[in-house]
């Protein structure tokens, strides 16, 4: 049924909102399975364009629809203009496939990719007719389930969710859906379903854990109830070649942020950069065979008609067969005019030949992430890359005709001094000098873009104990760097520190923040990750009204013996290993990558002792 027939008022409001194609569904590849016994809606708590760019959602929506008796539809966060109109006209948040309000599904699933989408979660539930607070949801209301990287510490969201899925979803999502289906048929209570769900590996039921606090606000105890495990161990998929991967996906009709086909190369990372959560939480290493990547890439290119395919991983250059894989894929994609893009290229294993080959189809820019301006600080963060390697890579690219490069850095890293910030400016000068030496064609000029983001300490990294810089300190550092970048052809841009501050509060937050999220949503907070939408003053007022403190969460260094809010989660990498990394960071000692020498992070025990570093 056409959505406008279902909601005639949509016909009136769509002409008045930005990008109405976000709300119409009907895309090529959407799966409509109306008569399944268990109905799920997979929600992405950000805009359609961002949600449609997400590979995990593509995989899991496909997986559910591929499961007998289960149907899975999609919903995205309406932009603020659309939300206002929907509320005015009494239109609930609906699934794009059938226009079904969220409240009419058996389960509402969220993928939690970013801490600053939390108010959107609350808003989507409310707009979909579901009570946002789990404790107040009735027996006949949907079960609300969250997954994705933010669930490694989902405590700030514990009040809103019945279940969190920890780790990779390809297996556990199906197990959980089948359990829900069985419970639905047996007509057991929601409480009993949750008790049974907690027995599935990787399933965390927050209501089964009681949290105690010290008078200073830190945790004093975590007590599991009703047979819930002391620690929930992250789920992984052992065999990436045989795991579920859809043959098709929903192709957006309006432009997505990453509007392309996507296939993973491997999971995990050999690098162990100390600030990086993904590099630690997606261990152990497992890779797809090149023939699997090739087959899936061909299928998705042919199916979607997309002009570009992205080979995804945390560090593309670390995939052993990258060059031969790209050669073979190009044979298929080049005649179709389909370009290949590789994110996360490292400057030290940079191959200008490979990049030139890829450019034959589709031109793209050059981006490197030195992350810090001096070797000393790069050693602290374990970003094992030298300035020489970066200049060398830039030189090769300039000689081959590139006339620009983007350099990404982080600001506010532990132990950072003015010297390190000056180092960023100096490195950009050296890149400019390299261009003067090596450029193939100087007439076109050069554009060097330096971007800084503010460091946000994340759980399950060696920096999880670190303090974040204060907002004032970050601003001072930004202006210091701005004053030190002089060359005209070097442009400097930075990430708004307020956004990073709020991100930091939630990244390492605890359950006490649930009330703040609820209250901030009531006071109109939405899309907090969007500079122009974020209402920092409202957040400050909310925290202070609830006697909570930004600095307790963001700028406070954690004690090494402190119980951390995410201690009931086991991601594989051990606390002992992380702590050793933290200590060596403070001493400026880098560690070898996993290929060079195993550092015994602990993650391999999740995969029967297997970690494929090669």
């Amino acid at each position: 049924m056409d959505l406008i027939e279902k909601y005639p008022a949509l016909g009136e409001i769509l002409p008045t909102v930005e990008k109405p194609a976000r709300y119409i569904g009907g895309e090529y590849g959407q799966i409509v399975k109306e008569d399944a016994a268990l109905s799920l809606v997979f929600c992405f708590p950000d805009t359609y364009e961002i949600g449609m760019s997400h590979l995990g959602m593509r995989i899991l929506v496909g997986l559910y629809n591929d499961t007998e008796d289960v149907r899975c539809e999609r919903a995205y966060a309406p932009w603020v203009d659309m939300e206002a109109k929907m509320r005015e006209k009494g239109i609930p948040l609906y699934s794009l496939e059938t226009g079904t309000p969220l409240k009419d599904f058996d389960a509402v699933l969220f993928t939690l990719q970013y801490e600053l989408c939390y108010t959107n979660v609350v808003n989507m539930l409310d707009l979909g007719g579901v009570h946002p607070l789990a404790a107040e949801r009735g027996e006949d209301e949907p079960v609300v389930i969250g997954g994705g990287p933010c669930t490694f510490n989902a405590e700030p969201l514990a009040d809103f969710f019945d279940i969190f899925i920890i780790g990779e979803g390809e297996e556990v999502n199906r197990e959980l859906a089948l359990l829900e289906l069985a419970c639905k048929r047996e007509k057991v209570s929601k409480k009993e379903f949750l008790r049974r769900a907690a027995k599935i590996g990787g399933v965390y039921v927050p209501s089964l854990y009681e949290i105690g606090y010290h008078p200073d606000g830190t945790l004093s105890s975590v007590t599991p109830k009703d047979g819930a495990p002391e620690q929930v161990t992250k789920r992984i998929v052992s065999d990436l070649d045989h795991m579920y991967f859809p043959k098709s996906f929903t192709v957006p009709t309006t432009e997505a942020v990453h509007d392309r086909a996507m296939v993973e190369l491997f999971r995990g990372c050999i690098r162990g950069c100390r600030f990086c959560q993904a590099g630690h939480t997606w261990r152990p290493l497992r890779r797809k065979k090149p023939e699997t990547v090739l087959r899936q890439a061909r299928e998705h290119i042919s199916y979607s008609g997309c002009e570009e395919i992205n080979l995804l991983s945390l560090s593309s250059s670390d995939y052993r067969d990258l060059e031969t894989l790209c050669d073979e894929l190009l044979e298929f994609s080049e005649p179709k005019g389909v370009g290949i893009s590789l994110p996360s290229l490292r400057a030290d294993s940079f191959s200008v030949e490979l990049l030139e080959k890829l450019q034959r189809v589709k031109k793209s820019g050059l981006t490197f992430a030195p992350e810090a301006g001096t070797q000393r600080l790069r050693d602290v963060i374990n970003k094992n890359i030298t300035e020489e390697a970066i200049l060398n890579a830039c030189g090769m690219a300039f000689a081959a005709g590139w006339n620009g490069v983007k350099l990404y850095f982080m600001m506010g890293l532990p132990t950072e001094t003015k010297e390190d910030l000056k180092g960023i400016a100096e490195m950009s000068d050296h890149v400019l000098y390299t261009w003067r030496q090596k450029a193939a064609n100087k007439n076109r000029g050069v554009k060097i873009t330096v971007s800084t983001s503010s460091f946000v300490p994340k759980p399950f990294t060696p920096f999880q104990w670190a303090a974040q810089d204060t907002e004032a300190a970050l601003r001072e550092k930004i202006s210091f760097l701005r004053d030190n970048i002089h060359a005209k052809s070097v442009a400097y841009s930075w990430h708004e520190p307020k956004v990073s501050k709020l991100e930091s509060v939630f990244a390492r937050g605890d359950r006490k923040l649930g009330r703040a999220i609820h209250e901030a949503w009531k006071r109109g907070c939405r899309f907090d990750g969007w500079d122009e939408q974020m209402k920092y003053d409202v957040w400050q007022a909310v925290l202070s009204d609830l006697s909570l403190d930004f600095d307790f969460y963001a700028t406070r260094a954690r004690g090494e013996t402190e119980i951390l809010p995410w201690d009931m989660i086991d991601v594989g990498v051990t606390k002992k290993y992380l702590l050793a990394g933290w200590h060596d960071a403070l001493r400026g000692i880098p560690w070898p990558d996993c290929r060079e020498k195993c550092s015994n992070c602990g993650a391999r025990r999740l995969n029967n002792g297997v970690c494929v570093t090669d």
């Binding site: 056409d2 959505l3 406008i4 027939e5 949509l10 016909g11 769509l14 002409p15 109405p20 194609a21 709300y23 119409i24 569904g25 009907g26 895309e27 090529y28 192709v251 009709t253 309006t254 432009e255 042919s302 199916y303 979607s304 008609g305 997309c306 002009e307 179709k336 005019g337 370009g339 189809v361 589709k362 031109k363």
Partner: protein
């Protein structure tokens, strides 16, 4: 576009919620569908090559179209008759290619477009609108991104016919003269401020000129 390509016209519908797919998104959507259907449409030679598609006289966002057209290039010898059955299974909901044929007359010769304005007041509203729109001059405020100006739209209206659902309007639609039917609603609002003429619009097609048989494109 290379020269040996045969310029081919696709006639298609864009109805229901698909009315809210913008012109640019429609171009990309058709391009991808051509690729999925393995129709060897010519590509642009650009920084990021994509299928060469031309959709003359863009349909405003939110309007349905029952006889829209898009132009592509095909290699000589490729039978365009195959296109609908190959492309329709890979198009989003609400877009349907009904016909494909080599271009005989250029789209630059299009002079008029025909719209159905479906009114809440139905037949009665249509009769009333037709009466009001007979006025000449018919001055409305035309707003563009840059400026606003008073324009007489009477010369751009060729015919207004009342119908059961509202009325049908035939208006100028060429590079030199073009009337967005939204201005007909504006005119009605101005002429009869107390009456409501809320409409949904469908473009039924376009004509080459006024003397020839009324050939739909």
């Amino acid at each position: 576009m290379e020269e040996e390509k045969v310029k081919t016209r696709l006639r298609f519908q864009k109805v229901g919620a698909a009315a809210f797919i913008s012109h640019l998104d429609l171009m990309r959507t058709l391009g991808r569908a051509l690729s999925r259907a393995e129709i060897p449409a010519a590509k642009t030679n650009g920084y990021n090559p994509h299928a060469y598609i031309s959709i003359p006289c863009a349909l405003s966002l939110g309007y349905e179209g029952t006889r829209e057209m898009a132009e592509i290039g095909l290699p000589p010898g490729f039978d365009p008759g195959w296109i609908p059955e190959r492309i329709n299974p890979v198009l989003p909901k609400g877009i349907l290619v009904t016909e494909a044929y080599p271009i005989a007359r250029k789209s630059a010769e299009i002079a008029f477009a025909e719209y159905d304005l479906i009114l809440e007041r139905g037949k009665e509203g249509g009769a009333r609108a037709a009466e009001l729109l007979r006025a000449s001059p018919l001055v409305v405020l035309k707003k563009s991104k840059r400026r606003e100006e008073e324009t007489d739209i009477a010369p751009l209206i060729r015919r207004i016919e009342p119908a059961e659902y509202g009325f049908r309007a035939t208006v100028a639609c060429s590079a030199s003269e073009n009337l967005n039917p939204r201005l007909l609603s504006e005119a009605l609002k101005k002429l009869a401020p107390d009456e409501t003429f809320r409409v949904r619009m469908t473009r039924r097609g376009r004509f080459f000129d006024q003397t020839a048989e009324e050939e739909f494109l």
